[in-house]
Symmetry: C2
Subunit: 455 residues, 2 copies
């Protein structure tokens, strides 16, 4: 049995949903279909999710909801009409939205979540109706009915362990399951969304629960590339990579699959495949537990901007037991998480994601570190990027650091930081953001450009 997840662009229009149907029909093992809300049909388009956010905010502000509500219904109506469905499905969607809008809006976040989730939920109902209309045996299944339960706030939503055994029953259904992604319920029946990774997480949970032979994640690219195609010309396709490699790459800027979505599949040893709804004959990128050795030591190169460095200098810092711990304590109290901590004798730097900072917070952290830790020199610098080389077995590849460092030297890009030594699959370089494109291209050339004949 295979679980297939279709992203927003894959269900954005009638034309796209027809592709989904033919993909499902092409392989009888494809028994569970997880769907997103209709996404953009073209670059200037608005996603249904964004229409729903507009609707929710109008409702919360006490503004008229008529126009934003109609915009949502129009999108579904257009799809239903083009698919030749009767208007019953639109009545169902309209009723569903009315119920959600009438619900208690005391907790704004939960109210918005519930209205956003209407995107996926009604997408699943509509697609199940379409499948049925063309003679496929298909059934919309609600996460609550199926037993996909999550923990209570304030922790971010995560599937409860019992969900997996309850969802396992989906594999016994005679019909194809069409399941909305992105949301689930607490044991008390409260709707919660997976805020990072969305529908990919739902698909991963279902694949793990039914012990699928494969979790196919359909999107709008043929595969994962070894480097960002917007920066590097025609990067090579990655045919196969390990979960660990995918996680490191997605963590450092590869937007294909959120690393949290890998977890359930990884834990259940279900292989993943990233495929293209618009080109289903392309083999895609397989993500597996172990892969065959590759002649290339590097599987992918990613870069992510938006990092800041908190530098702390204090003479004889290394003699002071607990200094690092106290610094991390201050950051924890300021709700800052960090990525790397390079250190010298008298100084250490904390590299963190800049979005966690604002001017006031920066000032307060600097003051606290100066006063509470009696530091001599404290400052924050912004506009750093992290460049990550990812590849299994990298820690035993003796010339790899030298090759990477030579690429930096050739481009005259300064290495602001290196983090090597804990991860077996990645090597991280800190650089100035302005150097990102230059060094990405040079590293790509070093590790992926085909060697010329005779060299």
């Amino acid at each position: 049995m295979k679980v297939c997840k279709f992203g927003g662009t894959s269900v954005a229009s009638a034309q796209q949903i027809r592709k989904v149907a033919s993909i499902i029909k092409a392989d009888p093992a494809r028994r569970i279909v997880v769907v997103s809300a209709p996404g953009k049909r073209h670059s200037g388009d608005v996603k249904v999710t964004d229409l729903l956010i507009r609707l929710a905010s109008a409702a919360l502000m006490g503004e008229s909801i008529q126009q934003p509500l109609q915009a949502v219904i129009d999108r579904y109506t257009e799809i239903a009409d083009e698919l030749g469905l009767d208007r019953d499905i639109i009545d169902i969607i309209r009723a569903d939205l009315s119920d959600r809008l009438r619900a208690d809006s005391g907790q704004h976040d939960l109210y918005i979540d519930s209205i956003k989730a209407a995107g996926e939920d009604n997408s699943a109902k509509l697609i199940a109706a379409y499948f049925t209309s063309i003679g496929m045996q298909a059934e919309y299944v609600n996460p609550h009915t199926a037993g996909l339960f999550v923990n209570d706030p304030p922790e971010r939503a995560q599937a409860l362990p019992e969900s997996y055994s309850q969802l396992a029953a989906l594999s016994d259904k005679p019909s194809i399951t069409v399941f909305p992604g992105f949301f689930a319920y607490t044991k008390d029946g409260m709707l919660r969304t997976f805020d990072r990774g969305g529908s990919d997480i739902t698909g991963s949970i279902l694949a793990a629960a039914v012990k699928a032979e494969l979790y196919e994640n359909f999107t709008d690219v043929d595969c994962v590339f070894a480097a960002n195609p917007q920066v590097v010309d025609n990067p090579v396709e990655i045919e196969q990579m390990t979960y660990r490699e995918m996680r490191e790459l997605s963590y450092a800027g590869f937007a294909v699959l959120h690393d949290e979505a890998l977890m359930p599949a990884y834990r259940a040893s279900v292989p993943l495949c990233i495929r293209n709804t618009n080109n289903p004959s392309a083999p895609g990128t397989m993500i597996v537990a172990e892969r065959a050795d590759s002649p290339r030591p590097v599987t992918g190169i990613s870069a992510d901007s938006g990092f800041s460095t908190l530098y702390v200098g204090k003479y004889l810092m290394n003699r002071e037991v607990g200094f690092g711990r106290k610094l991390l304590q201050i950051l924890e109290e300021e709700e800052i998480s960090y990525e790397h901590i390079p250190s010298g004798i008298d100084n250490l730097s904390v590299i963190l994601r800049s979005h966690q900072l604002d001017d006031e917070k920066e000032q307060r952290i600097i003051e606290r570190v100066k006063n509470e830790l009696q530091a001599d020199d404290v400052h924050i610098r912004n506009d750093f990027s992290m460049v990550v080389l990812v590849g299994e077995g990298m820690n035993n590849n003796k010339g790899l650091t030298a090759r990477a460092a030579a690429a930096f030297a050739r481009t005259n890009v300064n290495i602001e930081m290196i983090n090597q030594g804990s991860s077996e699959v990645s090597l991280v370089f800190g650089i100035l953001k302005e150097d990102e494109g230059k060094i990405l291209n040079e590293l790509y050339k070093e590790f992926f450009a085909p060697a010329l004949v005779g060299q």
Copy 2:
């Protein structure tokens, strides 16, 4: 005014002490002389300090002290006789030792410290007597009389701020001050020793207090070498380096000057010179606040063994706010200080000095990290070395990491860890101890070997 400190081998015998006298006479600016206890005269010899430890331990064990006491007195007697001093000085030394031995031995550590300090104290008395005997105007000055006060236990001994103003009066003395290194007193009159850096610290404090133009640290080598001469053949001499460079080098295995001894001179901007008592015409190595640019990006390369790595792996560790802080807290509670913390997404490693661990502590730390932090994988590996490249302006030298990494690739030495990014003057590589000699030689060749003509 210059402050001169003479180490153990420089005052080990009458012959050596005559060299000290001629060095002092050669420059009238040399007004303060700090001395160690007589050290080894040859490789099989026993230092006076070790004789004193033997004496103290006999006294504490209730054994006969006659023989170990006589061994100490014999050393001083031999020196005094060869210097042609009369036996008054030996009576003084004998009386001093008797006083110390009779003191309250309730606190063993303090008792041992007091007896050890007799080595420097009587060395200073003897050398002052010798200077006087050859017509130099010289005076033994006791740290208590001069006002060199330190803090109370249990913190390690550090000069109190008021010491500096009190010691400044030494610059007004008409005679040359001969001052014992290594010890000072609390305000209550309790003797305490500088356990790391010893007499070097005393010299540094005095140099800072009198605002000396130079602090000359006389030892038994001509200079500081760019690499360990026991590992690398004929390394180049370092003519000049900055305080920061010296600190990084001494921290990572350069035994010439303990980094704590640099602090007072550094803070008072007193330049230091490492010189050779046995070859006073050699210019030595100058340690200064700022140095002229050098064509070489690396000033010195050091390596230090005795490091261990605590590896901690936990899936989705990077999502867990406070994980690193909690780990450091456990280490703090176990009284472990650490050097570096390389980190991956799901793992981090803590690099620490192995002497802090024993089997029981290792086991307990592993158990605590597993249980208290619910880590998936925790282990400790030993026998690592840290190789440190030191040089001012290193963080802006773009090809440097590439050159170093190429040296690793050539020797096939695996880089277990890199720490670059906080210190401006050092680049640290973690390696297996067994690779130390090989990579030190290759790095030396890379950064110091003269380029061949025509290349």
